[in-house]
């Protein structure tokens, strides 16, 4: 019975994590400009990865593996937002302006769609 | 040839595809950095060939657990593990050569380097004649 509950909980975590990763990948393809695409990619490596790690932790139970997974989670917790920040910062420094909804900034990033999106 | 044969050889075929993409990149592209990336693809395909051969169905990583288990072959792992690090060291050497070539010729495109060499060796006239031919 407990095995069933553990499996159900971990599968729920794994499935929702995978769903977010797929959503992130979809956003990376479908979003209109660099910054929104970066936003989509951010979902993948923060919440998506964390949920998958949670699912794996439930599977592993109380063991050394769980501690290792926690450490990986802590590492991702710091590095993913930092890398996203660094990429966005570099893009802004390089002069790539975000696209504004009413078209005010649309002229400045005409090269964005085929630019190096991530 | 049945489905089992196709599944049983798929790894090797994909390795060959990767190998040929790498080879084609090296042979057909003139940019030296691109050539090195092509060499890396070729190299990785060889790694995958070795590791695929060492895999045993139902096996596990060759770290003894104390229980009787089937282990995949550890020998290819050893060979490839060292080969990867040697690979990055030689890649670094190749990239250093590219940097020096850039300093000497001011380009990393193969045909431009060739043209510069021709001009230096045979003078402008011969290079121009070569271009007409």
């Amino acid at each position: 019975m407990t095995a069933l509950v553990t499996d159900a909980v971990s599968w729920a975590f794994l499935a929702s994590g995978s769903f977010l990763v797929v959503v992130g990948a979809l956003g990376l393809i479908r979003m209109p400009d660099f910054y929104t695409r970066l936003h989509a990619a951010g979902i993948t490596d923060t919440l998506g990865a964390d949920l998958i790690l949670m699912g794996l932790m439930v599977q592993a139970g109380f063991s050394l593996v769980t501690v290792k997974l926690l450490l990986i989670g802590a590492f991702l917790f710091f590095t993913s937002p930092t890398s996203t920040h660094a990429i966005a910062n570099a893009a802004l420094t390089a002069g790539l302006n975000p696209r504004i909804a009413d078209g005010a900034g649309a002229g400045t990033d005409s090269a964005a769609p085929e630019g190096d999106g991530k | 040839m049945g489905v089992d044969d196709i599944l049983g050889l798929f790894n090797y075929w994909m390795v060959i595809v990767l190998m040929m993409i790498g080879l084609y990149t090296v042979v057909s592209r003139g940019n030296l950095v691109k050539k090195i990336v092509g060499l890396n693809i070729f190299q990785t395909s060889v790694f995958l060939l070795y590791i695929s051969m060492g895999k045993v169905t139902g096996g596990t990583a060759p770290i003894l657990t104390g229980k009787p288990e089937v282990y995949s072959n550890p020998l290819p792992h050893v060979l490839i593990l060292t080969a990867i690090v040697v690979g990055v060291a030689t890649t670094a050497l190749g990239l250093a050569l590219v940097v020096r070539i850039k300093n000497a010729y001011d380009t990393i495109e193969e045909d431009e380097i060739q043209a510069a060499d021709d001009e230096k060796e045979f003078g402008d006239a011969a290079a121009a004649e070569d271009g007409r031919r």
Binding site: T82, H85, A86, A90, T93, A94 | L7, G8, L9, F10, N11, Y12, W13, M14, V17, L18, M20, I21, G22, Y24, S28, R29, N31, V33, K34, V37, G38, N40, I41, T44, F47, L48, I51, M53, G54, K55, V56, T57, A61, P62, I63, L64, Y71, P74, L75, V78, L81, T82, A83, I84, V85, V86, A89, A92, L93, L95, A96, V98, V99, K102
Partner: protein
């Protein structure tokens, strides 16, 4: 079709697509990034094929060091590839024919995963059966790497050493003295600097864990050296080459390159002096297993030292070139 086969096939197809994209793209920055992705996917495939040690190495190399070196090269050369001028027909035919010949050759090969394949019945069963009693460590890969085939590994470490010397020789004339450096520190990247400072300690600790836990789990000198080097490289990238050189002078790194190989060879020589074969560690301890433990520990340390030092000095050589790598270039 089993789940394992599905994972295997989809990862291989991903690899193929990535390789094709690398071939087609002409923006070299994207090519380098994709080659990093290629390494990461192949590392996932290697885990799937039970080669955890190899996957570890591939991930450390592909996602870390070789990408950094390629980006440094791009910064020093150019970021775009010229359109091909020559005809592509001949290379295509050659490659196609070679591929066909190779595929024809695979038809005689044992099927994937066959436990009766020649490769599985020759030496490997001996290693798997005897590692516990002869070497006494659980990780068979480390046992084979450092003890059974210690000669091979000594050769490989020497190749890495030689390649490192080659890089230094090629680029040494262009290394600038520290006072002349124009490498910018990423001053406006406050977040990066804070997070990097926080992470460097744990990264080095992890490298040490990988180094000395390699007998029991995946890891060993090669992986640890690469991770250790990445800690220094990330420091140099964020805080500038000048500061990194203050922490670890280039002269010291170059000395360590040689020290690692010397330690490896020296351990072999000590067993020589005790009247045993070169690199036979059995004489180093009170009994065979203790001797093997000590020998493997020392040899792996030598490997880690050389790999880390070669990678760091290679990075110093690239980063110390005339043009600074400024982050505005990216």
């Amino acid at each position: 079709m089993s789940i394992a086969a599905v994972i295997d096939i989809s990862l291989l197809v991903f690899l193929g697509l990535t390789a094709f994209a690398i071939l087609k793209l002409r923006a070299l920055f994207a090519v380098v990034m994709l080659s990093s992705v290629f390494s990461l996917v192949s590392a996932a495939l290697l885990v799937h094929l039970d080669a955890v040690d190899v996957a570890f190495t591939e991930a450390a190399v592909g996602a870390g060091i070789s990408t950094v070196l390629m980006l440094a090269t791009l910064a020093l050369t150019s970021r775009r590839e010229k359109a091909p001028t020559r005809s592509q027909a001949l290379p295509l035919i050659v490659v196609f024919l070679t591929g066909l010949a190779l595929v024809y050759g695979t038809l005689d090969m044992p099927r994937f995963g066959d436990p009766q394949a020649p490769i599985q019945v020759h030496v490997a069963p001996k290693y798997i059966a005897d590692t516990q009693s002869e070497i006494g460590i659980p990780n068979i890969v480390t046992a084979v790497l450092a003890s059974y085939r210690g000669f091979d590994t000594l050769g490989e470490v020497t190749v890495i050493f030689t390649a490192g010397i080659g890089v230094l020789l090629l680029l040494a004339g262009f290394i600038r003295e520290p006072e002349g450096l124009r490498v910018q520190t990423m001053d406006h990247h406050l977040v990066l600097r804070v997070v990097t400072k926080m992470l460097i300690g744990p990264i080095m600790l992890f490298a040490l864990y990988v180094q000395f836990h390699g007998d029991f789990g995946p890891g060993g000198g090669f992986q640890a050296g690469l991770i250790f080097a990445s800690a220094f490289i990330i420091y140099a990238l964020v805080f500038g080459l000048e500061n990194a050189r203050k922490a670890v002078p280039g002269r010291a790194v170059r000395l360590l390159v040689a020290c690692g190989v010397l330690l490896y060879g020296g351990v072999g020589f000590v067993s020589f002096l005790f009247g045993k074969n070169y690199l036979n560690y059995s004489v180093l301890g009170v009994d065979q297993v203790a001797g093997q433990h000590l020998g493997i520990l020392l040899v792996e340390f030598g490997v880690g030292l050389t790999v880390a030092a070669v990678m760091v000095s290679t990075f110093y050589a690239f980063a110390g070139q005339n043009q600074p790598i400024s982050d505005e270039d990216w």
